[in-house]
Protein backbone atom coordinates (compact mmCIF):
# COMPACT_ATOMS: atom_id res chain seq x y z
CA UNK A 1 0.00 0.00 0.00
CA UNK A 2 2.64 2.48 1.05
CA UNK A 3 4.83 1.35 -1.79
CA UNK A 4 2.19 1.83 -4.39
CA UNK A 5 1.07 5.15 -2.92
CA UNK A 6 4.31 6.84 -3.80
CA UNK A 7 4.23 6.47 -7.54
CA UNK A 8 0.56 7.33 -7.40
CA UNK A 9 1.33 10.64 -5.75
CA UNK A 10 4.15 11.23 -8.18
CA UNK A 11 1.83 10.54 -11.04
CA UNK A 12 -0.68 12.92 -9.60
CA UNK A 13 2.02 15.52 -9.14
CA UNK A 14 3.17 15.15 -12.71
CA UNK A 15 -0.40 15.26 -13.92
CA UNK A 16 -1.00 18.37 -11.81
CA UNK A 17 2.10 20.00 -13.21
CA UNK A 18 1.05 19.34 -16.81
CA UNK A 19 -2.44 20.64 -16.14
CA UNK A 20 -1.10 23.84 -14.64
CA UNK A 21 1.54 24.21 -17.34
CA UNK A 22 -1.12 23.62 -19.94
CA UNK A 23 -3.26 26.19 -18.22
CA UNK A 24 -0.31 28.56 -18.16
CA UNK A 25 0.31 27.89 -21.85
CA UNK A 26 -3.31 28.60 -22.55
CA UNK A 27 -3.09 31.84 -20.59
CA UNK A 28 0.04 32.79 -22.55
CA UNK A 29 -1.86 31.92 -25.71
CA UNK A 30 -4.72 34.18 -24.70
CA UNK A 31 -2.41 37.08 -23.82
CA UNK A 32 -0.62 36.69 -27.14
CA UNK A 33 -3.97 36.52 -28.92
CA UNK A 34 -5.22 39.71 -27.31
CA UNK A 35 -1.99 41.49 -28.16
CA UNK A 36 -2.19 40.30 -31.78
CA UNK A 37 -5.89 40.87 -32.31
CA UNK A 38 -6.33 43.91 -30.06
CA UNK A 39 -5.49 46.63 -32.60
CA UNK A 40 -7.81 45.10 -35.21
CA UNK A 41 -10.57 44.71 -32.63
CA UNK A 42 -10.38 48.34 -31.48
CA UNK A 43 -10.16 49.67 -35.03
CA UNK A 44 -13.07 47.53 -36.25
CA UNK A 45 -15.09 48.90 -33.39
CA UNK A 46 -14.11 52.54 -33.99
CA UNK A 47 -14.13 52.55 -37.79
CA UNK A 48 -16.99 50.17 -38.60
CA UNK A 49 -19.31 49.24 -35.77
CA UNK A 50 -19.66 52.50 -33.82
CA UNK A 51 -19.93 54.67 -36.97
CA UNK A 52 -22.74 52.43 -38.22
CA UNK A 53 -24.59 52.96 -34.94
CA UNK A 54 -23.83 56.67 -35.24
CA UNK A 55 -25.56 56.80 -38.64
CA UNK A 56 -28.75 55.47 -37.07
CA UNK A 57 -28.54 57.99 -34.22
CA UNK A 58 -27.85 60.92 -36.57
CA UNK A 59 -30.72 59.85 -38.82
CA UNK A 60 -33.07 60.35 -35.86
CA UNK A 61 -32.01 64.00 -35.42
CA UNK A 62 -32.42 67.26 -37.32
CA UNK A 63 -28.70 67.98 -37.07
CA UNK A 64 -26.99 70.01 -39.77
CA UNK A 65 -23.21 69.73 -39.81
CA UNK A 66 -21.74 72.77 -38.05
CA UNK A 67 -25.04 73.77 -36.41
CA UNK A 68 -25.00 74.14 -32.64
CA UNK A 69 -28.55 72.83 -32.14
CA UNK A 70 -29.53 69.23 -32.40
CA UNK A 71 -32.99 67.81 -31.74
CA UNK A 72 -34.32 64.29 -31.67
CA UNK A 73 -36.95 64.00 -34.39
CA UNK A 74 -37.58 60.25 -34.47
CA UNK A 75 -38.54 59.01 -37.90
CA UNK A 76 -39.24 62.45 -39.38
CA UNK A 77 -36.25 62.32 -41.73
CA UNK A 78 -37.60 59.10 -43.21
CA UNK A 79 -41.07 60.61 -43.62
CA UNK A 80 -39.46 63.59 -45.36
CA UNK A 81 -37.43 61.23 -47.50
CA UNK A 82 -40.51 59.38 -48.71
CA UNK A 83 -42.26 62.66 -49.49
CA UNK A 84 -39.21 64.19 -51.18
CA UNK A 85 -39.69 64.32 -54.94
CA UNK A 86 -35.94 64.46 -55.67
CA UNK A 87 -35.29 61.41 -53.51
CA UNK A 88 -38.07 59.44 -55.16
CA UNK A 89 -36.71 60.27 -58.60
CA UNK A 90 -33.21 59.32 -57.46
CA UNK A 91 -34.46 56.01 -56.10
CA UNK A 92 -36.41 55.23 -59.27
CA UNK A 93 -33.39 56.17 -61.40
CA UNK A 94 -31.17 53.85 -59.37
CA UNK A 95 -33.57 50.95 -59.79
CA UNK A 96 -33.85 51.60 -63.54
CA UNK A 97 -30.06 51.89 -63.81
CA UNK A 98 -29.60 48.57 -62.01
CA UNK A 99 -32.27 46.94 -64.17
CA UNK A 100 -30.36 47.96 -67.31
CA UNK A 101 -26.84 47.26 -66.06
CA UNK A 102 -27.44 43.83 -64.50
CA UNK A 103 -28.95 41.98 -67.48
CA UNK A 104 -26.62 43.81 -69.90
CA UNK A 105 -23.50 42.99 -67.91
CA UNK A 106 -24.44 39.42 -67.02
CA UNK A 107 -25.61 38.60 -70.56
CA UNK A 108 -22.55 40.03 -72.27
CA UNK A 109 -20.24 38.55 -69.65
CA UNK A 110 -21.71 35.10 -70.26
CA UNK A 111 -21.47 35.37 -74.05
CA UNK A 112 -17.87 36.58 -73.84
CA UNK A 113 -16.90 33.79 -71.44
CA UNK A 114 -18.53 31.13 -73.67
CA UNK A 115 -16.82 32.50 -76.77
CA UNK A 116 -13.42 32.71 -75.11
CA UNK A 117 -13.72 29.21 -73.64
CA UNK A 118 -14.98 27.73 -76.93
CA UNK A 119 -11.57 27.93 -78.60
CA UNK A 120 -8.02 27.69 -77.48
CA UNK A 121 -6.20 30.52 -79.22
CA UNK A 122 -5.78 34.04 -77.80
CA UNK A 123 -7.68 33.23 -74.61
CA UNK A 124 -5.46 35.29 -72.30
CA UNK A 125 -5.43 38.17 -74.80
CA UNK A 126 -9.22 38.40 -75.04
CA UNK A 127 -9.63 38.02 -71.31
CA UNK A 128 -7.16 40.84 -70.63
CA UNK A 129 -8.76 43.27 -73.09
CA UNK A 130 -12.28 42.74 -71.83
CA UNK A 131 -11.20 42.91 -68.20
CA UNK A 132 -9.29 46.18 -68.65
CA UNK A 133 -12.23 48.58 -67.96
CA UNK A 134 -12.92 46.92 -64.62
CA UNK A 135 -9.59 48.01 -63.20
CA UNK A 136 -8.99 51.26 -65.11
CA UNK A 137 -9.55 54.38 -62.98
CA UNK A 138 -13.22 55.15 -63.63
CA UNK A 139 -12.87 58.87 -62.86
CA UNK A 140 -10.33 59.21 -65.67
CA UNK A 141 -12.25 56.93 -68.01
CA UNK A 142 -15.39 59.01 -67.42
CA UNK A 143 -13.48 61.94 -68.92
CA UNK A 144 -12.62 59.79 -71.92
CA UNK A 145 -16.29 58.81 -72.25
CA UNK A 146 -17.30 62.45 -72.16
CA UNK A 147 -15.01 63.15 -75.09
CA UNK A 148 -16.40 60.11 -76.91
CA UNK A 149 -19.97 61.29 -76.32
CA UNK A 150 -19.32 64.98 -77.01
CA UNK A 151 -22.16 66.38 -79.19
CA UNK A 152 -19.91 67.86 -81.91
CA UNK A 153 -16.39 66.49 -81.63
CA UNK A 154 -17.27 63.12 -80.08
CA UNK A 155 -16.51 59.93 -81.96
CA UNK A 156 -20.03 58.53 -81.48
CA UNK A 157 -21.87 61.45 -83.05
CA UNK A 158 -19.31 61.72 -85.84
CA UNK A 159 -19.77 58.04 -86.63
CA UNK A 160 -23.56 58.32 -86.49
CA UNK A 161 -23.53 61.42 -88.72
CA UNK A 162 -21.31 59.64 -91.24
CA UNK A 163 -23.81 56.79 -91.37
CA UNK A 164 -26.66 59.28 -91.75
CA UNK A 165 -28.15 58.36 -88.37
CA UNK A 166 -29.60 60.86 -85.89
CA UNK A 167 -27.18 62.24 -83.29
CA UNK A 168 -27.88 63.44 -79.75
CA UNK A 169 -26.41 65.40 -76.89
CA UNK A 170 -26.19 62.16 -74.94
CA UNK A 171 -25.32 63.46 -71.49
CA UNK A 172 -27.50 66.60 -71.59
CA UNK A 173 -30.74 64.98 -72.75
CA UNK A 174 -33.15 63.69 -70.10
CA UNK A 175 -34.18 60.81 -72.31
CA UNK A 176 -30.68 59.50 -73.03
CA UNK A 177 -28.58 60.35 -69.98
CA UNK A 178 -29.49 57.40 -67.76
CA UNK A 179 -29.26 54.72 -70.49
CA UNK A 180 -25.90 56.18 -71.54
CA UNK A 181 -24.59 56.07 -67.96
CA UNK A 182 -25.89 52.50 -67.74
CA UNK A 183 -24.01 51.63 -70.94
CA UNK A 184 -20.83 52.93 -69.30
CA UNK A 185 -21.69 50.80 -66.26
CA UNK A 186 -22.02 47.73 -68.48
CA UNK A 187 -18.76 48.58 -70.24
CA UNK A 188 -17.01 48.82 -66.88
CA UNK A 189 -18.36 45.60 -65.32
CA UNK A 190 -18.71 43.13 -68.19
CA UNK A 191 -15.12 41.92 -67.83
CA UNK A 192 -15.80 41.16 -64.18
CA UNK A 193 -18.88 39.07 -65.02
CA UNK A 194 -16.85 37.37 -67.77
CA UNK A 195 -14.10 36.36 -65.35
CA UNK A 196 -16.63 34.91 -62.88
CA UNK A 197 -18.24 32.93 -65.68
CA UNK A 198 -14.85 31.69 -66.93
CA UNK A 199 -14.20 30.33 -63.43
CA UNK A 200 -17.67 28.77 -63.42
CA UNK A 201 -17.04 27.11 -66.81
CA UNK A 202 -13.75 25.64 -65.59
CA UNK A 203 -15.51 23.99 -62.67
CA UNK A 204 -17.95 22.01 -64.83
CA UNK A 205 -16.78 18.37 -64.69
CA UNK A 206 -15.64 16.90 -68.01
CA UNK A 207 -17.67 13.73 -67.26
CA UNK A 208 -20.86 15.64 -67.88
CA UNK A 209 -19.75 16.50 -71.42
CA UNK A 210 -18.68 12.91 -72.01
CA UNK A 211 -22.07 11.70 -70.81
CA UNK A 212 -23.83 14.23 -73.03
CA UNK A 213 -21.71 12.96 -75.95
CA UNK A 214 -22.93 9.43 -75.39
CA UNK A 215 -26.48 10.72 -75.20
CA UNK A 216 -25.99 12.19 -78.67
CA UNK A 217 -25.31 15.82 -77.89
CA UNK A 218 -22.96 16.31 -80.82
CA UNK A 219 -22.80 19.98 -81.60
CA UNK A 220 -21.43 22.78 -79.48
CA UNK A 221 -24.96 24.13 -79.22
CA UNK A 222 -26.32 20.79 -77.98
CA UNK A 223 -23.71 20.60 -75.27
CA UNK A 224 -24.36 24.21 -74.36
CA UNK A 225 -28.04 23.50 -73.85
CA UNK A 226 -27.66 20.10 -72.18
CA UNK A 227 -24.73 20.76 -69.87
CA UNK A 228 -23.18 24.21 -69.81
CA UNK A 229 -26.14 26.50 -69.22
CA UNK A 230 -27.87 24.34 -66.59
CA UNK A 231 -24.57 23.97 -64.74
CA UNK A 232 -24.04 27.73 -64.79
CA UNK A 233 -27.33 28.42 -63.00
CA UNK A 234 -25.90 28.94 -59.50
CA UNK A 235 -22.95 30.98 -60.82
CA UNK A 236 -25.42 33.19 -62.66
CA UNK A 237 -27.38 33.84 -59.49
CA UNK A 238 -24.14 34.86 -57.86
CA UNK A 239 -23.00 37.08 -60.75
CA UNK A 240 -26.39 38.83 -60.84
CA UNK A 241 -26.10 39.83 -57.18
CA UNK A 242 -22.48 40.89 -57.35
CA UNK A 243 -23.13 43.05 -60.41
CA UNK A 244 -26.28 44.49 -58.80
CA UNK A 245 -24.17 45.46 -55.78
CA UNK A 246 -21.69 47.23 -58.06
CA UNK A 247 -24.52 48.98 -59.94
CA UNK A 248 -26.14 50.24 -56.73
CA UNK A 249 -22.81 51.82 -55.82
CA UNK A 250 -22.48 53.88 -58.99
CA UNK A 251 -21.08 57.30 -58.21
CA UNK A 252 -17.98 58.38 -60.16
CA UNK A 253 -19.59 58.66 -63.58
CA UNK A 254 -22.57 60.62 -62.21
CA UNK A 255 -20.36 62.98 -60.21
CA UNK A 256 -18.00 63.68 -63.10
CA UNK A 257 -20.30 63.58 -66.12
CA UNK A 258 -23.74 64.84 -65.05
CA UNK A 259 -23.97 65.91 -61.38
CA UNK A 260 -27.35 64.21 -61.42
CA UNK A 261 -28.64 66.37 -64.27
CA UNK A 262 -30.22 67.46 -66.47
CA UNK A 263 -32.86 68.19 -63.85
CA UNK A 264 -32.77 65.09 -61.72
CA UNK A 265 -32.64 62.73 -64.69
CA UNK A 266 -29.40 61.02 -63.61
CA UNK A 267 -29.61 61.35 -59.84
CA UNK A 268 -28.73 58.02 -58.24
CA UNK A 269 -28.85 56.93 -54.61
CA UNK A 270 -25.17 57.31 -53.79
CA UNK A 271 -24.98 60.70 -55.48
CA UNK A 272 -28.01 61.89 -53.47
CA UNK A 273 -26.32 60.56 -50.33
CA UNK A 274 -23.17 62.51 -51.18
CA UNK A 275 -24.96 65.75 -52.09
CA UNK A 276 -27.29 65.85 -49.08
CA UNK A 277 -24.57 64.86 -46.60
CA UNK A 278 -21.55 66.75 -47.88
CA UNK A 279 -22.69 69.54 -50.17
CA UNK A 280 -25.95 70.65 -48.55
CA UNK A 281 -24.70 69.47 -45.12
CA UNK A 282 -28.21 68.21 -44.27
CA UNK A 283 -26.59 65.69 -41.99
CA UNK A 284 -29.69 64.08 -40.46
CA UNK A 285 -31.37 63.77 -43.85
CA UNK A 286 -28.16 62.44 -45.40
CA UNK A 287 -27.95 59.82 -42.67
CA UNK A 288 -31.49 58.69 -43.53
CA UNK A 289 -30.48 58.29 -47.19
CA UNK A 290 -27.42 56.38 -46.00
CA UNK A 291 -29.63 53.94 -44.11
CA UNK A 292 -31.75 53.27 -47.20
CA UNK A 293 -28.52 52.55 -49.09
CA UNK A 294 -27.25 50.35 -46.25
CA UNK A 295 -30.44 48.28 -46.14
CA UNK A 296 -30.30 47.59 -49.89
CA UNK A 297 -26.62 46.65 -49.90
CA UNK A 298 -26.84 44.49 -46.77
CA UNK A 299 -29.88 42.64 -48.14
CA UNK A 300 -28.08 41.87 -51.40
CA UNK A 301 -24.89 40.86 -49.57
CA UNK A 302 -26.80 38.48 -47.30
CA UNK A 303 -28.45 36.86 -50.31
CA UNK A 304 -25.01 36.57 -51.89
CA UNK A 305 -23.63 34.93 -48.74
CA UNK A 306 -26.53 32.47 -48.86
CA UNK A 307 -25.74 31.59 -52.46
CA UNK A 308 -22.05 31.18 -51.67
CA UNK A 309 -22.76 29.01 -48.65
CA UNK A 310 -24.76 26.65 -50.78
CA UNK A 311 -22.48 26.46 -53.77
CA UNK A 312 -19.06 27.85 -52.93
CA UNK A 313 -17.77 31.04 -54.50
CA UNK A 314 -17.60 30.07 -58.14
CA UNK A 315 -19.89 27.11 -58.65
Amino acid sequence: MTVSAEPLRAERLIAGATVSSRRRARLADAIAAYALAGPAFVLLLCLFILPTFAVFVIAATDWQFGASTINFVGARNFAELLADRAFRISFANTVLYVLIVVPGTVGLGLVLALLIEAGRSLRAFYRAIHFLPFMATLAAMAIAWEALLHPTIGLLNQALATLGLPTANWLRDEATVLPVLAAIGIWQNLGFAMVLYLAGLKSIPQDLYDAADIDGADSWLDRLRAVTLPMLGPVSMFVVIVVALKAFQTFDTVKILTQGGPGHASDVLLYTLYRESFEYLRTGFGAAVTIVFLVIVVTLTLIQARVMERRGPYA
Binding site: A30, A32, A33, A35, L36, A37, P39, A40, L44, L45, L47, F48, I49, P51, T52, A54, V55, F65, E117, A118, G119, S121, A124, A128, I129, H130, L132, F134, M135, A136, T137, A139, A140, M141, I143, A144, A147, L148, T152, L155, Q158, T162, W187, F192, V195, A199, L201, Q206, Y209, W220, F238, Q249, Y274, F278, T283, A287, T290, F293, L294, V298
Partner: protein, 278 residues
Protein backbone atom coordinates in the same frame (compact mmCIF):
# COMPACT_ATOMS: atom_id res chain seq x y z
CA UNK B 1 -16.24 22.25 -73.66
CA UNK B 2 -12.74 22.30 -74.97
CA UNK B 3 -12.02 18.69 -75.81
CA UNK B 4 -12.79 19.19 -79.46
CA UNK B 5 -11.38 21.96 -81.58
CA UNK B 6 -13.81 24.26 -83.35
CA UNK B 7 -14.45 23.80 -87.04
CA UNK B 8 -12.56 26.42 -89.09
CA UNK B 9 -15.65 28.56 -89.84
CA UNK B 10 -16.64 28.50 -86.16
CA UNK B 11 -13.12 29.42 -85.11
CA UNK B 12 -13.09 32.36 -87.52
CA UNK B 13 -16.50 33.49 -86.27
CA UNK B 14 -15.25 33.30 -82.68
CA UNK B 15 -12.29 35.53 -83.47
CA UNK B 16 -14.41 37.93 -85.51
CA UNK B 17 -16.92 38.47 -82.69
CA UNK B 18 -14.29 38.73 -79.97
CA UNK B 19 -12.15 41.13 -81.99
CA UNK B 20 -15.17 43.38 -82.55
CA UNK B 21 -16.17 43.39 -78.88
CA UNK B 22 -12.52 43.94 -77.91
CA UNK B 23 -12.37 46.94 -80.25
CA UNK B 24 -15.58 48.36 -78.76
CA UNK B 25 -14.34 47.85 -75.20
CA UNK B 26 -11.05 49.54 -76.06
CA UNK B 27 -12.70 52.48 -77.84
CA UNK B 28 -12.66 54.90 -74.87
CA UNK B 29 -8.97 54.11 -74.30
CA UNK B 30 -8.16 54.58 -77.98
CA UNK B 31 -10.12 57.84 -78.23
CA UNK B 32 -8.47 59.16 -75.08
CA UNK B 33 -5.01 58.28 -76.42
CA UNK B 34 -5.86 59.73 -79.82
CA UNK B 35 -7.06 63.08 -78.46
CA UNK B 36 -4.07 63.26 -76.14
CA UNK B 37 -1.67 63.43 -79.11
CA UNK B 38 -3.71 65.79 -81.32
CA UNK B 39 -3.43 69.60 -81.61
CA UNK B 40 -6.59 71.60 -80.75
CA UNK B 41 -7.26 72.35 -84.43
CA UNK B 42 -7.57 68.66 -85.26
CA UNK B 43 -9.60 67.82 -82.17
CA UNK B 44 -12.27 70.37 -83.07
CA UNK B 45 -12.34 69.48 -86.75
CA UNK B 46 -15.53 67.56 -87.49
CA UNK B 47 -13.89 64.61 -89.20
CA UNK B 48 -12.61 61.67 -87.29
CA UNK B 49 -9.31 59.92 -87.55
CA UNK B 50 -7.49 58.01 -84.87
CA UNK B 51 -4.00 59.19 -85.75
CA UNK B 52 -3.16 62.92 -85.82
CA UNK B 53 -1.82 64.71 -88.91
CA UNK B 54 0.50 66.70 -86.71
CA UNK B 55 1.75 65.05 -83.56
CA UNK B 56 1.08 67.21 -80.55
CA UNK B 57 1.88 64.69 -77.82
CA UNK B 58 4.80 66.57 -76.28
CA UNK B 59 2.79 69.80 -76.01
CA UNK B 60 -0.29 68.13 -74.51
CA UNK B 61 1.56 65.97 -72.01
CA UNK B 62 3.81 68.86 -71.00
CA UNK B 63 0.77 71.04 -70.41
CA UNK B 64 -0.95 68.28 -68.40
CA UNK B 65 2.13 67.97 -66.21
CA UNK B 66 2.60 71.72 -65.71
CA UNK B 67 -0.90 73.28 -65.80
CA UNK B 68 -2.10 70.79 -63.19
CA UNK B 69 0.18 69.24 -60.56
CA UNK B 70 -0.36 65.84 -62.11
CA UNK B 71 2.86 64.33 -60.82
CA UNK B 72 1.82 65.54 -57.39
CA UNK B 73 -1.55 63.74 -57.72
CA UNK B 74 0.24 60.54 -58.69
CA UNK B 75 2.72 60.90 -55.82
CA UNK B 76 -0.24 61.42 -53.46
CA UNK B 77 -1.80 58.27 -54.87
CA UNK B 78 1.40 56.32 -54.22
CA UNK B 79 1.75 57.68 -50.67
CA UNK B 80 -1.87 57.02 -49.73
CA UNK B 81 -2.06 53.54 -51.32
CA UNK B 82 1.25 52.48 -49.78
CA UNK B 83 0.34 53.74 -46.32
CA UNK B 84 -3.08 52.07 -46.44
CA UNK B 85 -1.66 48.74 -47.63
CA UNK B 86 1.18 48.64 -45.09
CA UNK B 87 -1.14 49.48 -42.20
CA UNK B 88 -3.78 46.99 -43.39
CA UNK B 89 -1.29 44.12 -43.52
CA UNK B 90 0.33 45.14 -40.20
CA UNK B 91 -3.05 45.13 -38.46
CA UNK B 92 -4.88 42.35 -40.27
CA UNK B 93 -2.25 39.60 -40.42
CA UNK B 94 -1.71 39.27 -36.63
CA UNK B 95 -5.46 39.40 -36.00
CA UNK B 96 -6.05 36.77 -38.68
CA UNK B 97 -3.39 34.56 -37.10
CA UNK B 98 -5.03 34.87 -33.68
CA UNK B 99 -8.40 33.96 -35.21
CA UNK B 100 -6.99 31.02 -37.15
CA UNK B 101 -4.56 29.43 -34.69
CA UNK B 102 -5.06 30.70 -31.13
CA UNK B 103 -7.71 29.87 -28.60
CA UNK B 104 -8.97 32.86 -26.60
CA UNK B 105 -12.13 34.17 -25.03
CA UNK B 106 -13.87 36.61 -27.36
CA UNK B 107 -12.62 34.97 -30.54
CA UNK B 108 -16.14 34.49 -31.83
CA UNK B 109 -16.97 38.08 -30.94
CA UNK B 110 -13.99 39.34 -32.93
CA UNK B 111 -14.87 37.15 -35.88
CA UNK B 112 -18.44 38.42 -35.62
CA UNK B 113 -17.16 41.99 -35.91
CA UNK B 114 -15.16 41.00 -38.99
CA UNK B 115 -18.27 39.53 -40.61
CA UNK B 116 -20.34 42.62 -39.79
CA UNK B 117 -17.52 44.76 -41.16
CA UNK B 118 -17.68 42.76 -44.40
CA UNK B 119 -21.36 43.60 -44.70
CA UNK B 120 -21.01 47.36 -44.35
CA UNK B 121 -20.22 49.28 -47.54
CA UNK B 122 -17.72 52.07 -47.05
CA UNK B 123 -20.01 54.80 -48.33
CA UNK B 124 -22.25 54.19 -45.30
CA UNK B 125 -19.36 55.06 -43.01
CA UNK B 126 -18.48 58.27 -44.84
CA UNK B 127 -20.76 60.55 -42.86
CA UNK B 128 -19.76 59.48 -39.33
CA UNK B 129 -16.10 59.14 -40.31
CA UNK B 130 -16.19 62.64 -41.82
CA UNK B 131 -17.48 63.96 -38.46
CA UNK B 132 -14.92 61.83 -36.61
CA UNK B 133 -12.13 63.20 -38.81
CA UNK B 134 -13.39 66.73 -38.23
CA UNK B 135 -13.32 66.25 -34.46
CA UNK B 136 -9.83 64.80 -34.61
CA UNK B 137 -8.86 67.84 -36.68
CA UNK B 138 -7.34 65.72 -39.43
CA UNK B 139 -9.62 66.59 -42.36
CA UNK B 140 -7.68 67.82 -45.38
CA UNK B 141 -4.51 65.88 -44.48
CA UNK B 142 -2.99 62.61 -45.66
CA UNK B 143 -4.24 61.08 -42.41
CA UNK B 144 -7.83 61.81 -43.46
CA UNK B 145 -7.30 59.89 -46.72
CA UNK B 146 -5.80 56.92 -44.89
CA UNK B 147 -7.49 56.38 -41.53
CA UNK B 148 -10.86 54.89 -42.57
CA UNK B 149 -9.08 52.03 -44.36
CA UNK B 150 -6.34 51.00 -41.91
CA UNK B 151 -8.27 47.90 -40.89
CA UNK B 152 -9.80 45.74 -43.61
CA UNK B 153 -12.41 43.16 -42.58
CA UNK B 154 -11.87 41.54 -45.96
CA UNK B 155 -8.12 41.34 -45.31
CA UNK B 156 -8.64 39.67 -41.94
CA UNK B 157 -11.15 37.25 -43.45
CA UNK B 158 -8.93 36.32 -46.39
CA UNK B 159 -5.74 35.91 -44.31
CA UNK B 160 -7.59 33.86 -41.70
CA UNK B 161 -8.78 31.46 -44.38
CA UNK B 162 -5.23 30.98 -45.68
CA UNK B 163 -3.70 30.70 -42.21
CA UNK B 164 -6.22 28.05 -41.23
CA UNK B 165 -5.01 25.85 -44.10
CA UNK B 166 -1.44 25.92 -42.72
CA UNK B 167 -0.93 22.81 -40.53
CA UNK B 168 -0.81 23.33 -36.74
CA UNK B 169 2.38 21.24 -36.61
CA UNK B 170 4.27 24.02 -38.32
CA UNK B 171 3.14 26.44 -35.62
CA UNK B 172 4.12 23.99 -32.85
CA UNK B 173 7.52 23.39 -34.43
CA UNK B 174 8.12 27.13 -34.66
CA UNK B 175 7.24 27.53 -30.96
CA UNK B 176 9.64 24.74 -30.03
CA UNK B 177 12.29 26.63 -32.00
CA UNK B 178 11.63 29.53 -29.65
CA UNK B 179 9.82 31.84 -32.07
CA UNK B 180 7.45 34.34 -30.49
CA UNK B 181 3.87 34.49 -31.68
CA UNK B 182 4.57 37.72 -33.56
CA UNK B 183 7.59 36.14 -35.21
CA UNK B 184 5.40 33.21 -36.26
CA UNK B 185 3.03 35.65 -37.97
CA UNK B 186 5.71 37.45 -39.95
CA UNK B 187 8.30 34.71 -40.52
CA UNK B 188 6.02 31.69 -41.05
CA UNK B 189 2.39 32.61 -41.73
CA UNK B 190 2.67 35.59 -44.05
CA UNK B 191 5.39 34.06 -46.25
CA UNK B 192 3.36 30.83 -46.52
CA UNK B 193 0.21 32.76 -47.41
CA UNK B 194 2.00 34.88 -50.00
CA UNK B 195 -0.58 34.29 -52.76
CA UNK B 196 -3.28 35.70 -50.47
CA UNK B 197 -1.09 38.64 -49.52
CA UNK B 198 -0.38 39.42 -53.18
CA UNK B 199 -4.05 39.11 -54.16
CA UNK B 200 -5.08 41.33 -51.27
CA UNK B 201 -2.38 43.89 -52.06
CA UNK B 202 -3.50 44.21 -55.68
CA UNK B 203 -7.13 44.51 -54.61
CA UNK B 204 -6.29 47.16 -52.02
CA UNK B 205 -4.02 49.27 -54.23
CA UNK B 206 -6.41 49.21 -57.19
CA UNK B 207 -9.39 50.07 -54.97
CA UNK B 208 -7.68 53.03 -53.33
CA UNK B 209 -5.85 54.33 -56.40
CA UNK B 210 -9.24 54.44 -58.16
CA UNK B 211 -11.33 55.75 -55.25
CA UNK B 212 -13.04 59.09 -55.82
CA UNK B 213 -15.79 59.04 -53.17
CA UNK B 214 -13.82 59.32 -49.94
CA UNK B 215 -11.06 61.70 -51.17
CA UNK B 216 -13.81 64.01 -52.42
CA UNK B 217 -15.10 64.22 -48.85
CA UNK B 218 -11.80 64.13 -46.99
CA UNK B 219 -9.58 66.68 -48.73
CA UNK B 220 -9.94 70.10 -50.35
CA UNK B 221 -6.35 71.19 -51.06
CA UNK B 222 -5.03 70.42 -54.50
CA UNK B 223 -1.65 69.34 -53.13
CA UNK B 224 -3.30 66.44 -51.25
CA UNK B 225 -5.53 65.13 -54.05
CA UNK B 226 -5.12 61.53 -55.23
CA UNK B 227 -5.26 60.95 -59.01
CA UNK B 228 -9.06 60.54 -59.55
CA UNK B 229 -9.90 63.66 -57.57
CA UNK B 230 -7.02 65.57 -59.15
CA UNK B 231 -8.01 64.73 -62.69
CA UNK B 232 -11.60 65.72 -61.89
CA UNK B 233 -10.40 69.08 -60.54
CA UNK B 234 -8.26 69.53 -63.67
CA UNK B 235 -11.33 68.91 -65.84
CA UNK B 236 -13.40 71.45 -63.91
CA UNK B 237 -10.66 74.09 -64.12
CA UNK B 238 -10.26 73.60 -67.84
CA UNK B 239 -14.08 73.72 -68.15
CA UNK B 240 -13.73 70.82 -70.54
CA UNK B 241 -12.44 73.02 -73.35
CA UNK B 242 -8.77 72.08 -73.54
CA UNK B 243 -9.23 68.45 -74.52
CA UNK B 244 -5.68 67.53 -75.52
CA UNK B 245 -4.00 68.16 -72.14
CA UNK B 246 -7.07 66.85 -70.28
CA UNK B 247 -6.90 63.54 -72.14
CA UNK B 248 -3.14 63.43 -71.58
CA UNK B 249 -3.81 63.86 -67.85
CA UNK B 250 -6.43 61.12 -67.85
CA UNK B 251 -4.02 58.84 -69.74
CA UNK B 252 -1.33 59.42 -67.11
CA UNK B 253 -3.76 58.55 -64.31
CA UNK B 254 -4.91 55.33 -65.99
CA UNK B 255 -1.45 54.28 -67.21
CA UNK B 256 0.30 52.91 -64.08
CA UNK B 257 -2.34 50.33 -63.17
CA UNK B 258 -2.97 49.44 -66.82
CA UNK B 259 0.71 48.73 -67.42
CA UNK B 260 0.95 46.75 -64.18
CA UNK B 261 -2.16 44.83 -65.18
CA UNK B 262 -0.80 43.91 -68.60
CA UNK B 263 2.45 42.72 -67.00
CA UNK B 264 0.86 40.67 -64.20
CA UNK B 265 -2.53 39.88 -65.70
CA UNK B 266 -3.19 36.64 -63.87
CA UNK B 267 -2.48 38.16 -60.46
CA UNK B 268 -4.70 41.14 -61.16
CA UNK B 269 -7.66 39.09 -62.31
CA UNK B 270 -7.27 36.88 -59.26
CA UNK B 271 -6.92 39.75 -56.80
CA UNK B 272 -9.75 41.85 -58.17
CA UNK B 273 -12.10 38.90 -58.51
CA UNK B 274 -11.50 37.70 -54.98
CA UNK B 275 -11.88 41.25 -53.71
CA UNK B 276 -14.84 42.07 -55.89
CA UNK B 277 -17.00 39.18 -54.76
CA UNK B 278 -16.16 39.32 -51.08
Amino acid sequence: MTTRGLSPPAAILRHAVLLITAALVLMPFVWMLSLSVKPPGEIFRASFSILPEHWYAVENYTKALTAAPLLRFMLNGVIVCAAILVLQVLICAPAAYALAKLDFGGRDLLFGLVLIGLLIPHQVLALPLFIFGYQLGILNTYAALIFPFVVSPFGIFLFRQFFKSIPDDIVHAARLDGLSELAIVWRIMVPMALPAVVAFSIFSVVAHWNDLFWPLIAVRSEELMPPPLGVMAFKNEEAGSDYGPLMAGAMLVVAPLTVAFLVAQRWFVEGLTVGGVR
